[in-house]
Each structure stands twice: as structure tokens, then as C-alpha cells.
């Protein structure tokens, strides 16, 4: 129940953050933290909900965010084979990958739809997104550590 309210609150805050910082994503860090803490079922439901939010508000054809989340999960679990998933270095790599991959997938999907983008692979956008991901991950991870460390989880 605590996790459910956390997801609701995070979603509300994330939506407002996206309102104030257009074109930025705030949901990935919470998804990663939930996966790192082993809340796979909650991550699946929250991820599905956030995907619908992104797809509904986005200007691209349906499927872009599904590809984005799928790529992110592949990177996460593949990285988990070689590294400790809650390792800070791994998380940094993951967040940087997510920021670059987000721009790349949007560019590919826009090109496939015959759309021109005014900011294709803008370094400033990628850096800002990476910064947001890392900052949001740090805050969420700290909160999770404080409030959810002893919660029963689903292990891999």
C-alpha cells in the first residue's frame, strides 16, 4: 500500500515536473529504483501506467516509448549479469545510456514518420536529461532506502 501511494505521488510530481521542463522525462529513475530494490511487479504496473501517459501526450506514433522502455530493461538486466545492479557506477552508465537512447529512439521514430526535428541529438538536451535522471534517481533511491528497505520484495 505504501508503494502504491509512493507511485501515485511520484506520478503527480513527475507530471508537474514535465510540465515545467518540456520534453524531459522524470519517470525512468523511479522505475530503475523499483527494479534495483526488487519490486518487479510494482515496476511493471507503474511502468505500464507511465508508458500510457507518455504515449498519450506524445506527438509520435504509438510504440516509441515501448521501444524505449524495452531497450532500457534489456540494458538493465544485461548490465545486471556483469555488475551489481544497485552499484552507483552502473546506475550512472544506465542513466547516461537512457538519456542518449531516448533522443536516439525519438529521432529514429520521427524519421520513420517523415517528421523533421528542430533538436536532433542536441547535446544540451541529452546532458540535461542525464542530469535529471541522475538527480531524480539519487533522491528516489535515498527515499527508498529509508522507507522501503525492509518491505517484502519479489526477488529475481
Amino acid at each position: 500500500m505504501k508503494l502504491f501511494f509512493f507511485c501515485i505521488l511520484y506520478t503527480l510530481l513527475g507530471i508537474w515536473a514535465q510540465y515545467f521542463l518540456p520534453s524531459m522525462d522524470f519517470f525512468v529513475p523511479a522505475l530503475v529504483v523499483m527494479l534495483q530494490f526488487g519490486f518487479f511487479q510494482a515496476a511493471a504496473w507503474a511502468g505500464l501506467f507511465w508508458m500510457l501517459i507518455h504515449e498519450g501526450t506524445g506527438g509520435l506514433a504509438f510504440g516509441t516509448i515501448i521501444l524505449f522502455y524495452a531497450g532500457l530493461l534489456v540494458f538493465f538486466f544485461l548490465g545486471g549479469v556483469f555488475l551489481e545492479i544497485s552499484n552507483i557506477l552502473f546506475t550512472m552508465f544506465l542513466m547516461l545510456f537512457a538519456a542518449v537512447y531516448k533522443d536516439w529512439i525519438i529521432s529514429v521514430m520521427a524519421t520513420l514518420q517523415g517528421l523533421y526535428l528542430s533538436c536532433q541529438f542536441c547535446m544540451i538536451n541529452i546532458l540535461l536529461q542525464a542530469g535529471i535522471y541522475i538527480a531524480a534517481w539519487f533522491i528516489t533511491f535515498t527515499l527508498f532506502k529509508k522507507h522501503f528497505l525492509n518491505e517484502p520484495v519479489q526477488r529475481k
Binding site: 518540456p22 501526450t57 506527438g59 509520435l60 517523415g114 523533421y116
Partner: protein
């Protein structure tokens, strides 16, 4: 008796005076609190009314907008700009969708001029492709010299570009560009932009024409969606669903 009554009356007068000036201050204090609260409430009300008065001016301006024959308008509020990571195009989100009869390719305007057109319509919300976006193309005609061309966006905060204007055309700076109605999406005669710069290129067959938008996209709170009565057929573009 006077000696007895007078001090008594004096004492009574003093006590009454003390009562009125000090003890009753409790009531004054209470009244003060009540008045302060009332003042706060009235201040809030004043703020609310000022906001409403400001919106009345904006809405009056929208009501003054007369739609061309065969077209009707309905108002909508702007909910967000470029919302979410997938907002790849310069867009607004408005609070009307398919349930309110808003579909793709409907002109979105305000009293100052054209904002763009509806792009992706949800059940209750719709994305509006702004005319500043790289994917926006609007056929226009100049108001005085009647030179036609196509206005295309070059990105947010950038000027618009008017394409396919012949070198020998008489287009002038400061001239208003209006929709020509050729593409079928926009009715004829809506103001789109004002010509700001004309450069005669030596390597091109066309003039390089820059134009400024007439609308403040960032601070727009209400818009009008135009709907045609069905006499004009609109066609979806390749990239639209």
C-alpha cells in the same frame, strides 16, 4: 448625600470608563481578528476578481473573432506546451478532444492570428502543431501585393520562412501574410505572419523571405478551434495516423 453619592458615581463612572476602554478591548481584539480575516478574504476575492476581469478581456477578444463563412469556432484552453519526452514537435495541448468533436487537421487560431493546426487528437485532449515547427507548412498570400508562397516553421523562437517567392515578385517588408486557403485545411484570409526581411539570393530562383509570427505562443491561455461545415474536404498528411 452628595458626599456619599458623588464618589460612588465617580467610581462608577471610572469603572465604566475602565470597562469600556480596557476590558471591552477583548471584544475589540476579537473584532480586530474578525476584520483581519474579512480583509484577507476580501483580498483573495479581489485577486480572484482581478484574474476573472483579465480573462474577460481575453475572452471578449476571442468572441470578437468572426469566423469565415462555412466555418464555426469553439474555444479551448491551453493545458501544456511540449508536454512529455515524446513531444518531438513544437506543440500545445488543449483541453478538447474527440468527445468534443475535435479531430486532426483543424485550424487553431486566436484573435491575433493563426497558431497552427490540430495534430493528434485524444478523447479529451488534443495536440496542436504550432506554425513555428519544422513540419508546419501553410500556403499564404500577401495582403497587398497578393504574392503567394508557403510559410514554413524553422523552430521555436525563430522566424518563419516564406518559400517559393519568385525573384521578380513585389513583396514588401512589413506586409501581412494571410492564409490562401489552397491546402484545404485553413480558410482563406486568416492572418499568419508579417514579412520582416527579404533577401535577394544570387544562387536561388526564389527570394529568401523571413516573417515574424503574430501570436505569443508562450503566454497563450485560450485558443479557438475552427471547424468547417463539410464543404471543404481536408486531407491527412503522410506522417499522420
Amino acid at each position: 448625600m452628595g458626599w456619599v453619592v458623588k464618589p460612588g458615581r465617580l467610581a462608577h463612572a471610572r469603572i465604566a470608563d475602565f470597562w469600556d476602554t480596557y476590558v471591552r478591548l477583548v471584544d475589540v481584539h476579537k473584532e480586530n481578528i474578525a476584520l483581519s480575516e474579512e480583509l484577507d478574504r476580501l483580498r483573495l476575492e479581489l485577486m480572484e476578481l482581478s484574474e476573472k476581469a483579465a480573462s474577460v478581456y481575453r475572452l471578449e477578444a476571442l468572441l470578437d473573432f468572426s469566423s469565415p463563412a462555412g466555418w464555426s469556432t469553439s474555444g479551448a484552453r491551453v493545458v501544456a506546451h511540449n508536454f512529455g519526452p515524446l513531444s518531438a514537435v513544437n506543440s500545445l495541448i488543449i483541453d478538447k478532444g474527440k468527445f468534443q468533436g475535435v479531430t486532426a487537421n483543424m485550424p487553431v487560431v486566436c484573435p491575433d492570428g493563426v497558431l497552427g493546426r490540430t495534430y493528434k487528437s485524444g478523447l479529451n485532449f488534443t495536440s496542436v502543431l504550432l506554425l513555428t515547427d519544422l513540419n508546419s507548412r501553410i500556403p499564404v498570400i500577401s495582403s497587398r501585393t497578393r504574392v503567394s508562397g508557403i510559410i514554413s516553421g524553422q523552430g521555436y523562437h525563430k522566424t518563419l520562412s516564406m518559400q517559393y517567392v519568385h525573384l521578380n515578385s513585389e513583396l514588401e517588408e512589413g506586409e501581412m501574410l494571410l492564409t490562401s486557403g489552397l491546402a484545404g485545411i485553413y480558410p482563406k484570409g486568416l492572418p499568419v505572419a508579417r514579412v520582416s526581411n527579404i533577401v535577394r539570393s544570387e544562387i536561388s530562383l526564389f527570394l529568401v523571405v523571413e516573417a515574424e509570427t503574430l501570436v505569443d505562443f508562450k503566454n497563450r491561455e485560450e485558443v479557438l478551434i475552427m471547424k468547417n461545415s463539410g464543404k471543404i474536404k481536408t486531407q491527412k498528411l503522410d506522417f499522420e495516423e
